[in-house]
């Protein structure tokens, strides 16, 4: 694959930086007490959501994980409403009813981040089933982690998606730890991608730190899906710099050496190096993007801080679409 054009490469850079700064800001404002509950951050994994969602239109669907802020952002959900949801405000993308693990956007095809590992898998496949049934060209992406690859639903849904040739791409974000359990100890055969063979679909292992590699693999898979040729399983090998959730230092089960080694292959730095090395962009251009992103994040924080809390008076409304 030839290198995409400059504007597009800078857009990938910018998207990854948006996710990074968003998550760093979430971590800071969580510590400051602005964000209730639990948050699971995507720092270190930015290339995956960015490279995959770069192929999706607004009408396509995404089923997400507990570590799903990035999927919402990369799918186009405005930063403001994602941040406001983390802050528990009425202006959040779920009106404050969801929180970090239940981000939804009907407008942007976000079928939900999820508090139960693996729930993004049937969400993606079901939306793909629906698209095919309705005769649209929409596709769906189901994100999950190495932990999610071990739940029963993974096996049931990959089988169903394959026999029904659904327009879905299964994207495993293998960050090597299901909470604290090492992938190497948890997964027979030590490959998620290899499982695709059992379900008669292509299985691809990708360097999840290289946004262009992710972009290329996802492009092929999404093209297959759109062409009616069925699902693909992509395993992106990646790493989270933080613990499982904010508050987990992430160092009880991982060595400092391992963490530092992965940080040397930081997805944003890798792309920056390439852009500068190949003289595609200047440091000044990257800095300019950096300051634009800072402004965006500050806007999201201001918006969240100024947004009202949801009204307890309405707490019992909306349980049903057709009220009883």
């Amino acid at each position: 694959m030839g290198l995409p054009d400059k504007d597009f490469l800078l857009a990938l850079y910018r998207q990854m930086l948006v996710i990074r700064r968003f998550e760093e800001t979430a971590a800071r404002t969580y510590r400051e007490g602005h964000i209730p509950g639990f948050i699971h951050l995507y720092i270190g994994e930015e290339a995956v959501a960015t490279g995959v969602c770069a192929h999706l239109t607004k009408e396509d669907y995404v089923g997400s994980t507990h570590r799903g802020h990035a999927h919402a952002l990369a799918k186009g959900v405005p930063l403001r409403v994602v941040m406001a949801e983390l802050w528990g405000r009425s202006t959040g993308c779920s009106g404050g009813r969801g929180g970090s693990m239940h981000l939804y956007s009907r407008e942007y095809g976000l079928l939900g981040t999820n508090g139960i590992v693996g729930y993004g898998i049937p969400l993606g496949a079901g939306a793909a089933f629906s698209a095919r049934y309705r005769g649209t060209s929409q596709v769906a992406v189901a994100f999950f982690g190495d932990g999610g690859a071990n739940i029963g639903c993974f096996h049931e849904v990959l089988n169903l998606a394959s026999i029904w040739r659904l327009p879905v791409v299964f994207v495993c974000e293998n960050n090597l730890y299901a909470t604290e359990l090492s992938f190497l100890k948890a997964t027979a055969g030590q490959s998620i991608a290899a499982r695709a063979a059992s379900y008669a679909m292509p299985g691809v292992e990708v360097d999840g730190q290289d946004v262009l590699a992710v972009y290329e693999a996802a492009g092929e898979a999404i093209a297959r899906a759109r062409a009616g040729d069925g699902p693909t399983l992509i395993e992106c090998r990646t790493y989270r710099y933080h613990g499982h959730h904010e508050g987990d230092p992430g160092t009880d089960y991982r060595t400092q050496e391992e963490i530092e080694a992965w940080k040397k292959r930081d997805p944003i730095q890798l792309l920056a190096k390439r852009l500068l090395g190949d003289e595609i962009a200047t440091q000044g251009e990257l800095d300019q993007i950096g300051s634009e992103v800072v402004t965006l994040i500050q806007d999201a924080i201001d918006f969240s801080a100024q947004s009202p809390w949801p009204s307890p008076q309405d707490v019992a409304t909306g349980v049903f679409a057709n009220p009883i």
Partner: protein, 325 residues
């Protein structure tokens, strides 16, 4: 009016609704060319084919989850779970997802999915094919729970369920499949949240669900021979629950016995008893009584099975004892 079987009424409801709305499709094991293991889709295959009558592999969690996302994105699935015992394999999808997504998404996503299947003791089906799991789901906000006792009701309620924009769970007792009753040829629906008085009486109210409605009617007949006038109320839907009809009957008779085939703890009887205590306490002339299936896993052998489920003797005996007080 013509009389048809309960299971035929199920099929008619699905058939008519699928004809009306192309967004409706079915998932289930054996619902395609076979016509369903209870004949619930017999004859439908030539009209709807593999696009809309989808024979699923044994993957309850997977296909229920797929149906839920299909419902979120514009379709109206009917999941034929066959035996409600099998829904335990999909319970996270039903409770964590179907029930909650409308609320958690702040109303952005509707989940118009119907999950229907059979329940009940009485065919020596054993511990994995006899569940009556409806009380479990009544505890979960976001689910509507439908429990029809007659062919007329199952057709009308199933049609309402299919047209509803929320997840609706329909519990069909296999002991009722071959019972017959009047069902009009003309279009009709039965609204949710409207109980029906099956038999009028003045001395005691029997609140009964599903197959227990037939048992309660039998008991009322037997009690009439002893000079006791029993009223039989069938809630028809547990969520929403028609409290007014139930309370109206209790206020009239001043006594209530709940007859239900599910288990007693935190169950239908407990709910009706709490309702009566809360809102009809000063009308009551006797303690509220519950007749449920014994809290044991459902055994297979016929004499054991009959020993756990509410019997005519238990219902009549409970009322008789109550009337002596």
């Amino acid at each position: 009016m013509r009389e048809i079987r309960y299971i035929d009424a199920v099929r008619e409801a699905q058939w008519e609704e699928m004809r009306r709305d192309e967004a409706i499709f079915m998932f289930g094991e054996g619902i395609g060319p076979r016509g369903g293991c209870f004949t619930q889709t017999r004859g439908m295959w030539p009209e709807f084919g593999e696009k809309r009558l989808i024979d699923t592999p044994l993957s309850e969690m997977g296909f229920t989850g797929i149906a839920i996302a299909a419902a979120m994105t514009g379709l109206r699935p009917i999941v034929d779970i066959m035996f409600w015992d099998f829904a335990y394999e999909a319970i996270g999808q039903i409770i964590n997802q179907a029930a909650r997504i409308h609320y958690m998404s702040n109303g952005q996503f509707k989940v118009p999915v119907v999950i229907r299947g059979t329940i009940g003791v009485g065919q020596s089906a054993g511990g994995h094919h006899s569940c009556r799991s409806y009380p479990l789901y009544t505890q979960m906000p976001g689910l509507k729970v439908v429990i029809p006792a007659t062919p007329y009701d199952v057709k009308g309620l199933l049609k309402t369920a299919i047209r509803d924009d929320d997840p609706v769970l329909v519990f069909e007792h296999k002991g009722l499949f071959n019972t017959t009753g009047p069902v009009p040829e003309e279009e009709y629906t039965v609204p949710f949240g409207q109980a029906v008085v099956r038999r009028e009486g003045t001395d005691v109210t029997l609140v009964a669900t599903s197959r227990m409605v037939l048992l309660a009617l039998e008991a009322a007949e037997a009690l009439a021979n002893e000079g006791i006038s029993a009223e039989v109320v069938d809630p028809r839907t547990l969520v929403p629950l028609d409290k007014e009809t139930i309370l109206g009957s209790i206020r009239k008779t001043s006594r209530v016995v709940v007859v239900d085939e599910a288990y007693s703890p935190c169950g239908v009887g407990a709910e009706i008893a709490a309702l009566a205590a809360d809102e009809a306490f000063y009308y009551l002339d006797a303690p509220i009584k519950r007749v449920h299936t014994l809290s044991v896993p459902t055994p297979s052998s016929p004499p054991l099975e009959q020993a756990v489920v509410p019997s005519l003797e238990r219902v009549v005996g409970t009322v008789r004892e109550m009337m002596r007080q």
